[in-house]
Symmetry: C2
Subunit: 600 residues, 2 copies
């Protein structure tokens, strides 16, 4: 028996040739004391089983210690905690600090890459970075300039580094990476620069490139099998990434992959979404523009797509489909289902079967959403799975150089990059949302490599006839597709949520408050004004038997681009500056970590 087991293990090692990131990440995510990947776990639930801080005592929370990153502008993502060490990253220039949890966050080591600042103007939506991942004794950083670096977690020494793209062509990075099996899987930004975007796998020990899957292009580039890869149960067919585009437009087709990645170890599939087709002027790219705006389920070994689902064919509003896919096992109609839930920019909350890609639920998670009446759920309809667009809000039908007004949500969606959390205790999703509408005027634009390729003028404002604010923090029932409770917020909630076994849900606000609410009722239990607006994601860990909650402050991101980049013209920052102008009455730029605990 012992011999057989050894043999099996040896075979496994031989098949991968090296240690498995799975094991490292799964043991890491199973230990609630740590926080090893940005999303909390492979399933992207952002739920912790820690419960020392609970809904009865969270009101006593206080700041334990704090740390300034030395960098201003938008701080997205969160720190990681591995053992006694906390790893903190920053926006450009993407410094990494290893902090000593045994000594008030003293600095064990610091890694500061030298990056050409020319990358800054090629970043569409602030110089953010969504953070590090830890696996196999290494900390992985994907820099703004698309350099992927593996750092020795103990020393900060570079083990390997590889260049994933070319900023001079508008290719940049803001996303975290997914360490899985013997690979690190990474995305790319550039939807506003006409980049033909992709996900790429690098060997986790050497940095060698293993495969690359484009969002659009010929089948051998998009790594789809015309017969085996399915879309809503049907094979995608030959050249689906070509024949849904006119001419060579796919070559500058966008579909960026700057969002969050999840992984199901049993199904051995990883999931992510693709962004908007380029340009924002829909008239310039007739067709469905596959596979922009698509949920992808791929095999991490070879990158092949098992199933895909395009949420917003032929996008006319910049509703990037990159938001996180949260993997849960829940009972639907008396049957346990392996689910994938996704809150899309377009305002629909989708629940799918994550094994087959079957569409189960698609409902608006903000009643303000008006660009489509609904998603067709009748499998026999030729419209099956397609949003039913309201002509009045169709920027394509209204045409170029026409200002389409009152579209809800705005381009930054009912939710943008800010990740939701899921509590298996309440079976609810906790979703930081935007409550913003827009006017959108597309115009003809020509492509020059490395230059903005946007093609629309936007303005944004709070959803009309509502509470006047620009955001809500909601609890969502993913099986029914229903809002359970909703907390109005003055600004978009641009921070990622955290839920815990203490039945508390945490999130941050653009004014800078960390808030804790009751997971069942949404009742506010605690709030604290951190130094700057929060667009980071709340995380929790335990050290020496004590639970801590931590969050990065530092206003910015698309919503905070006015403050972050010092812009004041309302239409600047792709239309966000005007809508969020009042933010400057509440907060200024920052870059701080605040760590909370209960009184000793």
């Amino acid at each position: 028996m012992r011999k057989i087991l050894l043999g099996a293990a040896a075979a496994l090692l031989a098949s991968t040739g090296m240690s498995m990131a799975n094991d490292s990440v799964m043991s890491g995510t199973k230990n609630p004391n740590g926080w090893v990947i940005q999303t909390g776990d492979y399933a992207n639930t952002r739920h912790s089983t820690l419960s020392q801080i609970n809904r009865d005592n969270v009101g006593d929370l206080q700041v334990a210690w704090s740390f300034s990153t030395g960098v201003l502008r938008g701080h997205e993502g969160s720190p990681l905690v591995v053992g006694d060490t906390m790893y903190v990253h920053t926006p450009f220039p993407n410094i990494v600090y290893a902090l000593d949890l045994n000594n008030y966050g003293a600095i064990k080591w610091k890694y500061e890459p030298k990056q050409d600042p020319d990358v800054i103007p090629v970043m569409c939506c602030d110089t953010v970075n969504r953070g590090l991942a830890f696996a196999n004794g290494m900390v992985f950083l994907h820099q703004a300039d698309t350099t992927v670096v593996a750092l020795d977690a103990k020393s900060g020494q570079v083990r390997w580094s590889v260049v994933n793209g070319d900023p001079s062509k508008g290719e940049t990075n803001t996303a975290t990476v997914l360490p899985v099996k013997d690979k690190v899987i990474v995305g790319i930004s550039g939807g506003e620069f006409g980049v033909q975007s992709h996900v790429t796998a690098y060997n986790i020990e050497t940095g060698e490139r293993v495969w690359r899957a484009y969002s659009m292009g010929p089948d051998d580039q998009i790594l789809m099998d015309p017969k085996k890869t399915t879309h809503l149960g049907k094979p995608v067919g030959k050249d689906s990434g070509l024949n849904t585009w006119e001419g060579d437009q796919w070559k500058i087709g966008g579909g960026a992959t700057w969002g969050w990645y999840s992984y199901d170890p049993d199904a051995d599939l990883f999931y992510y979404g693709t962004g908007n087709p380029s340009t924002w002027n829909p008239a310039q790219r007739p067709g469905d523009n596959r596979w922009s705006m698509t949920i992808m389920a791929r095999d991490p070994d070879d990158g092949m797509a098992k199933w895909v689902y395009q949420m917003t064919p032929h996008d006319e509003w910049d509703y990037d489909g990159i938001n996180e896919m949260i993997l849960t096992d829940q009972e639907i109609d008396g049957k346990m289902r392996k689910l994938l839930t996704h809150f899309d920019r377009n305002g629909f909350g989708y629940t799918l079967d994550r094994i087959t890609g079957e569409l189960l639920v698609a409902e608006k998670y903000d009643p303000a959403v008006n660009w489509a009446t609904h998603v067709e759920m009748d499998k026999s309809s030729d419209q099956y799975g397609r949003p039913q667009v309201v002509s009045k809000y169709s920027t394509e039908q209204n045409g170029e150089d026409v200002n389409t007004t009152g579209v809800c949500p705005a381009a930054l969606g009912t939710k943008d990059q800010q990740p939701a959390a899921y509590s298996p205790r309440t079976e609810l999703f906790y979703v930081p949302t935007n409550h913003v509408c827009m006017d959108y005027e597309p115009f003809r634009v020509s492509y020059t490599a490395g230059q903005p390729y946007v093609g629309a003028t936007l303005s944004m404002y709070p959803a009309p006839n509502s509470h006047g604010g620009m955001g809500n923090f909601i609890a969502w029932d993913g099986k029914k597709g229903e809002i359970v409770w909703s907390i109005p917020e003055q600004f978009s909630v641009w921070s990622g949520a955290l839920s815990t076994d203490g039945d508390v849900v945490f999130y941050g606000t653009l004014e800078g408050f960390l808030k804790a609410v009751d997971a069942k009722t949404g009742e506010e239990l605690y709030k604290f004004k951190t130094p700057s607006g929060i667009i980071g994601n709340v995380m929790t860990y335990a050290h020496d038997g004590k639970q801590y909650v931590a969050v990065l402050s530092g206003v910015g991101g698309w919503a905070g681009i006015g403050l972050a980049a010092g812009l004041t013209n309302p239409n600047d920052g792709l239309g966000a500056v005007g809508g969020y102008a009042a933010l400057s009455n509440y907060t200024a730029l920052g870059g701080q970590l605040t760590v909370f605990k209960l009184p000793d």
Copy 2:
């Protein structure tokens, strides 16, 4: 009787022509709920009569709220509090925020001057600013570029502004201002650029210049009366600011006035100290170099000096005399005396009679001080009042291009700008100190306007044969000239102290800790790690009946110049970079306000 009083008031008004800053500042400083000038009160005691936070409960302190200033580099000074409003300033570009204490520090208004960044390289010791002053409904800011601005405290509108110096000649500003009577009195920096420095009075309502008193030069420039102005009880004599210099060296003589100002309303005298003579190479400026390194007592109406005391004639170590003068009334030899206590860079703690300028005490406040054996106290000696220099540590006697080693203190003194506090309850001074020694090698340098005019190479290190750290926080008996207790610190304590009627003393550390200690014993009662190293000064205020303690974090200043300016060569930053290199293991750049309170 009523008539007579009215008449007297009218006469007073007529004599000044307008409302008196005295009244505004004195009523402001008498109200312990607010904090209207940087030094806490005209006497520079930095003592508050608030006692809600006391030595029994200070251990429960927690963070109430925080605010990021949006600026990195060294944050000196402190916020002000007037009623419901807190005024926060920043280093260059010297932003001023008015924060709403009723709404978690929301921003009521923001003033951001446009300043030429060319001023930055002309600032010797980081882009710091020591803060605002409030008087007569106005907030006064003295910008880096020497523009003095009066802002309407309600609206932030500029009431007047005036230019005090010329950065292209090396004239800059880092100091706060002194509002007194119908004037605002301001200093200037430039001792490392050969500026003939001065204090200047502007009309508080109009900004019109009233008088200017140079530190060196002919009598009509230094505003001294050869017969009436005294030095240690004797008239200074004719042209004292000329004939203690060789040739025209006084024209580039330094004696900058970048420190703290105090005022005695009864004596109607204000007090300040002057900085080093230029250049740091003593061989280039034979003579006593009067009135560099001097405590000045002047009349605010006309600027005339009543008495002066030069602590370090013919400086050979850069021991600027600008540190604060703390005005106390204490009993000495059974007699109540009006005292002035001053902890000089040179390592001696001086106590003088502030009315007459009589020297009462001059003792070392760090046992490491070795450049002088003592200050001669024998009034009949021709050495009376002069430090007795140890030849071995005389950089003049050792000569140009000779490295004088082991001089204690280092150029940044046993104390630099970080202000001490005084508690009338314990009759002790609480002094943040440096415990640093140096090697100093003077070299010949030639003067070019606007170029550094330094003339020495320095290196700094912890005082040898001591606790290994670079600082101490001490309690000092100013009458006896004795250390009562001393807390060793790893780095210089570059933050200003606060003492309160709660018998607690607060200070910050360069690693970023806010510490509270027992005023009687020095026992540590509380510490909290703020986001960045603290070189700001701790202040306290009350709002809605609750006491708060607030401090700015943001590492920098001379001690933190390596981090602040990104320097790594040990001799850079006028020799400070090497000595404080280990700071980067503890903290990174920041700019945050942290406000503390007791639990509700």
